[in-house]
């Protein structure tokens, strides 16, 4: 009997604690009060987040995290996370924001809230400067290289006009080689792959022609934090308007933000 009472008592205390937590859950105020924002970033996913030669985290997500902290006028604590534990970190309030190349999907939207997009992440058609293509219809009659069986291959098959000559290669590297050797002037791939080409062979840096599938990165935060969400969105819009976001994109992705990004 005594044991049961003790157990019930404990449960009550925990429940009370939990409801108290919920009641005062304005993370934005907490951040201001403790003068510190804790932000989760990846450390194993360049160019979003990796460890630089100075052993400090670097990348789009790190720059974005520093930008948010600076604009809020608070100190920053960078918390390295992996893609598997970034959402649990947020749900257990170990961090205030997750800036970790996070894409949106219905399952995630049930668990956490998202800001507006801050970084581009998309599959698209890329090509050399002399190829003037700006929509999938304009691909008609042209040759496009793609990795067989990839999502971009399926997208092309679904939406591209029949007259497109799709050359399918075995793997990403062969597709890249086909582009770099000039065997194809257009390739369908992810924007990170295009960045990789631009880094390795600046002379043949591919331009983004149009998107096949867009899934940009959002900043994640705990559910119901409307004040924090509004503040983060305001800061993203500001960076978008004054060109800071584009600078980050140019620095890490070697390409400007796609047209109409974040609108």
């Amino acid at each position: 009997m005594k044991r049961l009472a003790k157990f019930l008592g404990k449960t009550l205390i925990i429940a009370a604690g939990l409801s108290a937590l919920n009641a005062t859950a304005d993370v934005l105020q907490d951040i201001k009060k403790r003068d510190l924002i804790r932000i989760a970033v990846p450390q194993d996913f360049p160019p979003f987040g990796s460890i630089g030669t100075d052993l400090k985290p670097q990348g789009i997500d790190v720059d974005m995290a520093n930008y948010i902290a600076k604009e809020m006028g608070v100190d920053i604590e960078i918390v390295p996370v992996t893609s598997a534990n970034r959402i649990p970190y947020l749900q257990t309030k170990k961090v205030d924001l997750v800036i970790s190349s996070l894409g949106k999907n219905p399952e995630r939207e049930k668990a956490i809230d998202f800001s507006t997009p801050y970084a581009p992440f998309f599959l698209g058609v890329f090509g050399s400067k002399d190829e003037s293509v700006s929509s999938i219809e304009e691909l008609a009659g042209k040759t496009v290289g793609v990795t067989r069986g990839s999502v971009e291959d399926l997208e092309l098959e679904k939406y591209a006009p029949k007259s497109v000559n799709v050359r399918r290669f075995e793997d990403n590297n062969t597709t890249l080689t086909a582009y770099l050797s000039g065997q194809v002037n257009l390739i369908a791939t992810g924007n990170l792959v295009a960045t990789e080409i631009a880094t390795r062979q600046p002379k043949r840096a591919p331009e983004s022609k149009f998107m096949l599938k867009d899934s940009p990165c959002y900043i994640g935060m705990a559910e119901g934090e409307t004040a924090l969400q509004a503040e983060v969105n305001r800061l993203i819009q500001k960076a978008l308007a004054n060109g800071d976001l584009n600078k980050i994109s140019m620095k890490w992705l070697k390409a400007p933000l796609p047209k109409g990004f974040g609108v």
Binding site: G145, R148, S181, G182
Partner: protein
Amino acid sequence: MLHFADLLQYSDVFFSGLLTTVELTVLTTILGIAVGTSCASIRQYGNKTSQRVVSIYVELIRNTPFIVQLFFIFFGLPALGVRLSPWEASMIALTINLGAYSTEIIRAGLASISKGQIEAAKVLGLTFRQTLTRVIFIPAFEKIYPALVSQCIIVMLGSAVISQISVEDLTYAANLVQSRNFRAFESYLVTAALYLGLSILLRFAFNSIGKRLFVYREAP
């Protein structure tokens, strides 16, 4: 459970792949044997310099992997300004490859024709052309015919790797279908059966050509 019915909607993909493989095989077999015959003649009867050139070609091709030769022609040559379509690159790579192997095979046949036989033809008053065809080449080819046929079939089967440079051959069709419906067992089984059928057909075609070509023995 096996689902061969899932392949039916892709039958045109398989069919056009099959056509590409057949087309390339026929072309490269004819061109490859032509290259082989010329090079074998040079190696057997030519002067020292041309013999050396041919043997460098033969050794270079016979001692490097086919896929490397293919990638060199398709991905490497553009650096020198030579840009070939996947189809052209495969055709050239296959011809060069068969040419080198058949050079060695045909040379063995030519080496088996004794000098005395050629001299006998001269004594009997055969013209140069008659000597070349009836005394040298036809008997030489007859001796090495089975080896040559096998080599052509090996090259036809080896042409599967040209799918790597996006030529839409039979293997490309199999890979494509497999990447669309994930029926790996069924699509590769069907492809294997098609290759087997092609090999049998090719052997049959060669045999009937052989029967016509090597008739002189049956003459009274």
